[in-house]
Amino acid sequence: MGVIGQSIKRVEDQRFITGKGRYTDDIALPNSTFAALVRSPHAHAAINNVDTTAAAAADGVVAVFTGADLEAAGVGGLPCGWQVDFKSGDTMKEPAHPVLAATKVRHVGDPVAIVLAESREQAADAAELVVVDYEVLDAVVAATQATAEGAPQLFDDVPNNTPFDWELGDQAATDAALASAAHVTTLEYDNQRLIPNAIEPRCAIGDYDGARDHYTLYTSSQNPHVIRLLMTAFVLGLPEHKVRVVSPDVGGGFGSKIFHYAEEVLVTWCSRQIGRPVKWTASRSEAFLTDAHGRDHHTRVDLGLDADGNFVGLRVKTVANLGAYLSTFAPCVPTYLYGTLLQGLYTTPAVHVDVTGVFTNTTPVDALRGAGRPEATYVLERTVEQAALETGRDPAQLRSQNFIPAFDGVEQEGYQTQVALQYDSGNYGAALEKALAAIGYDELRAEQAQARAAGNGRHIGIGFSTYIEACGIAPSAVVGALGARAGLFESAGVRVQPTGKVTVFTGSHSHGQGHETTFAQVVADGLGVGIEDVDIIHGDTESVPFGMGTYGSRSLAVGGTAIVKSMDKIKEKGAKIAAHLLEAAEEDLEFAEGSWTVKGTDQSIAFGEVALAAYVPHNFPEGLEPGLEFTSFYDPANFTFPFGAHIAVVEVDAETGVVAVRRYVAVDDVGNIVNPMIVEGQVHGGITHGIGQALFEEAVYDDSGQLISGSYMDYVLPRADDLPSFETDHTVTPCPHNPLGVKGAGETGTIGSPPAIVNAVLDALWPLGVRDLAMPLTPQKVWQAIQQAS
């Protein structure tokens, strides 16, 4: 129909550009109270006593609750949704994660009490009157210190602060390959901790309706059904059918709004206690301390090459900082979303990865845009580039010669890696060739050589990153076998109205991704209706059948496919109705451009007429139910595997250490593309997030566990004047196992860009003797590296 592949302008934009978006904090319920949380100022402390007397007596205060109150009421702890057992086979240690800490706090920001008042102001004032008697304990902050002899222990029942360890791949083969390698490149570094910083701070409103014994939770979440399931089944023990969770417009998530947070439980439970709505909105300061953080790995990697530059073995050892508690999906991020990607695009015959997860007195760490895959890509792409620099090989050529040959997953089988996954389809060389052509590689190298020869202080660097990611999360049986405690299918209800207009109820949630447009394009194409005839409903457990939500670049591949499945059923039933009305055999009909036509004739009936007949079934096939509406659940057969080639060009000011990104070329292959404009936008945002990690962003704790970078005065978010304009393009290698042939585009940029930038800076400074740099490449760090090298 021509709407797939078109850059249709977004239908959701009208409300956002006119200020009519409806984010959670925009909702003002009558008779609402406002919550303020009392949070620990200490990273690690025992709680001797919590005195709420003064707070409870303060102006406008409606109620104050503590951890003891919640315990007495039987409120459970926050659950973890993924179990990663020890290498030994021992079960993962899963300490309690109280909604309000009652006996001990384990990170700065850990909530201790909640104050409800008539106004935000009164709640904030009264929260300061809660007196908590803390006994401050030594804190452990760095992942590498967590397992040290004598380190402070966070939990009595988790020895060595270690809830799990994990490995994947053939260790003996990898060790042997490295022992006999002609060259081994070794790096040891921190993949630093990041703070997600969706621009909308989290917000939650609980609204208990006593007359119906019914709860509504409005929350800024990427997956309202998951929140409902976790909260009702594991924390509050509420009947799930009596709880509605609504995620209206959400101002960015980037992973941080996947997880089930204490505040969601608190506003829901408190609303029941006081019989009034309870609203909590995070301040940015609270967001810094309590939104689950991302990354924070300490990694050592060894890559072996033979004399011809072929990779022979890759060994990776990582300590992953999980923070103070197991956040919802924390265990899978540094394991199954990380170790399984360490094959990269390469034919490396032996790969082994060993991961230890550790608790520290810091904010919990969980999935952040890319989640595990940026960490894996950084391991591979920094190391491959380092190997090229060390052995004097061209980094593009070294990659090319080790690439897995092209395979489409149809004629040629999927590629079985050394680390469990089977890639669906790929043509890695094509993406790299396209990127090299786009950037004008030979000319750039010539310019670089000229600048070096001229010694004019212009330090130009070219850096590569050729990445692969696993998206379209995920086949439920596979992830179930790997410890997931949830299925990862998606659902879609497609309701054809009597007039032929279409309402779609999707379990995916849009918080910037543009589903209301992309999904409408899919439906318009599938049913031959206009985009304006399609409405996409999401984010409400009351209207959407079920949903696993949006993360892991899964919405179109999984949620979109569920829509396609429902449309298939609609077309199948529609064909029966059409055949009846046309007095033709069903198998003689074909459906195209919104009509069923008797093949080879001009007899046809429009989709709208069939829809009307379905609801006014006066003349209807015998035995067929009226109505035209189907709900489907789609559980993917495999992950999808987007890939791409990114090239960054930087210029380093050696005098100040400032890195300027001069150009950035990204050639991504996300399979088929429904809306190129939206995909490009996703790539831009992802690249920027990755440049943020490479150059700017860093959660800094001091030794006592205080977050130094706890506001925008210290934590550097990339701004417009920090960035170049991006040059993007794509190759198309369709996914062979979903009907749309799509792979997912939400995380490519974040995954691909950090090593490209760092590699470019290393390339610029290699002649000066700089051999390694750790993210973020702050001016001081770059300047010091130059000083030390020269």
């Binding site: 969706a198 980037f254 831009h684 417009a720």
Partner: protein, 154 residues
């Protein structure tokens, strides 16, 4: 104590008694129900709360409602005239200059100020003029295009 204020917001005059500590953004959002102006931080950095106060783009999270007494204020809700979108609003949609939409009102207001002072900015000038506005979704590239698109169409 409370302070009596009279403000004109999007052409409508309002009179209220406000607490001195009430910020203008909370007055706009909570008293007037104009929730298009957002709060993204508490340190005057992110720019999500930008509105036009007496012709100047202001971070209204850092201005008391009391300070606005007598002021003429335009929020994102008042930018379109008689149902016709402002060229900047059109341009943000046209160039995909927004994703989640949360930073968008503030971004548009900051861009409004730029174009009012410099009708034909260079890309670098646009980037510089938006240094007080954070966007986590778009990578800014399409926002720059939006502002240029609006400049060209004005």
């Amino acid at each position: 104590m409370s302070v009596a204020i009279k403000v004109t917001v999007n052409g409508q005059t309002h009179e209220h008694e406000v607490e001195p500590r009430q910020m203008l953004v909370s007055y706009l959002r909570e008293e007037l129900g104009l929730t298009g102006t957002h709060v993204g931080c508490d340190t005057s950095n992110c720019g999500a709360c930008t509105a036009i106060v007496d012709g100047q783009a202001v971070k209204v999270c850092t201005m008391l409602a009391a300070q606005a007494d007598g002021a003429e204020i335009t929020t994102i809700e008042g930018l379109a005239a008689n149902g016709t979108l402002h060229p900047l609003q059109e341009a943000f949609r046209e160039t995909h200059g927004l994703q989640c939409g949360f930073c968008t009102p503030g971004m548009i207001m900051a861009a409004w100020q730029l174009l009012e002072r410099n009708a034909t900015p260079s890309d670098a000038e646009v980037r510089h003029a938006l240094e007080g506005n954070f966007c986590r979704c778009t990578g800014y590239d399409n926002i720059i295009k939006a502002v240029q698109h609006a400049a060209e169409s004005a």
